[in-house]
């Protein structure tokens, strides 16, 4: 059975596309899925450093497209997770080094070997985005609960619709539950009401993301962090499991902990 090509995009930069791609890759691979992460951000490659594989790049996506390397030579195996591999972007080339047809061919080849092909799209809605969108069977849009990110997400949702792909699904990233409680940040319902698309997952703001990225260790490699748990739930949903959306909280207070204890043991 061929795999699924999922493009992860956002419109706005800096909302966590690359982090989401790396962590979903890890979460899916941990569940035994064969995953290829493809960095489609040619000229600004970052998926390699977020995944901690930057020192092992020999060939890149453009080398494969231009016939200098075979796909198998360019793919980097993640030693921590044998099911996970990365196809890095070229760093010294421009977005125009590949076109939509080549991306469709490349991802189509990967799809034969992997259960999931996760394409990390560049920000924006220009050439690089179009190249990343072209091969997609499914689209995930990452958004943060901020006006600029939501506005850009809306634009991208429109472009995905216009491309006649199946409707995109949403990851709300970097939600801060305490700010939501104080009415200082839009909550999930607000964002969903405005964007009117299906929710795939909510990832709370988590400092662990920064420290783990410092080390090139996606948080989802371990079970401890809130963000990692959120990405694991998203991976489960992608695999068709029914996973409830838990009420998130950052640093629960004493009262809250007590209330939760009561809920667990009625």
């Amino acid at each position: 059975m061929p795999g699924r090509i999922i493009t992860i995009t956002s419109g706005k930069g800096g909302v966590g596309k690359t982090t989401a791609t790396a962590n979903l890759g890890v979460a899916l691979a941990r569940r035994g899925q064969r995953v290829a992460c493809v960095d489609a951000d040619i000229g600004l490659r970052n998926l390699d450093v977020v995944m901690g594989l930057e020192n092992r790049i020999v060939y890149d996506l453009v080398d494969v497209v231009e016939g200098r390397a075979r796909l198998r030579q360019a793919l980097i195996k993640d030693k921590r997770l044998p099911e996970l591999q990365l196809l890095p972007a070229a760093q010294t080339r421009e977005k125009s080094a590949v076109d939509e047809k080549q991306m469709i061919k490349l991802c189509g080849d990967l799809k034969k070997e992997f259960d999931f092909v996760l394409v990390d799209s560049p920000a924006g809605i220009e050439l690089g985005f179009k190249n990343a969108l072209a091969p997609a069977d499914e689209v995930i849009i990452v958004v943060t609960p901020e006006v600029s990110a939501v506005r850009d997400a809306d634009r991208v949702i429109g472009l995905v619709e216009a491309s006649e792909k199946s409707p995109a699904k949403l990851i709300i990233n970097r939600l801060r539950p305490s700010m939501v409680r104080r009415g200082e940040m839009m909550d999930t319902a607000d964002v969903l009401e405005v964007l009117a698309i299906e929710l795939l997952g909510i990832v709370p703001e988590d400092e662990t993301i920064i420290t783990s990225t410092n080390h090139g260790q996606p948080v989802t490699l371990e079970d401890r962090s809130a963000a990692g748990a959120a990405f694991t739930r998203i991976a489960q949903r992608l695999l068709g499991e029914q996973v409830p959306f838990p009420v998130l909280s950052d640093s629960p207070g004493l009262l809250e902990r007590f209330a939760r204890l009561l809920q667990r043991n009625p």
Binding site: V147, R151, D154, V180, G183, M186, D187, D190, V194
Partner: protein, 104 residues
Amino acid sequence: MNFLSRLLGRPPEQESADIAKQRLQLVLAQDRTNISPETLTRLKDEMIEVISHHVEIDRTNVQVSMTHTPQGERLLANIPVLRVRPTERRARERKPTRRATREE
């Protein structure tokens, strides 16, 4: 914050999350329409022209906008009516009298 201002008897401020949502809904309503502002202005002027034949309207406060609803794009026009044109009213008032004279 809310607790403090309540304690101090300040009027409750609108929460910034709500403001964000409202601003987004407005800006997205504009983003989602493909109608250029010029077209929308022309449309509005023509609507005012046609409607003015029949009712007297407050031309300065006419609002025409495109909005996005789950059912699709909607063109919304908000037109304050000052009064029904006297000619219209007269015509309507005249009718029964005429009929009355004919009956006589």
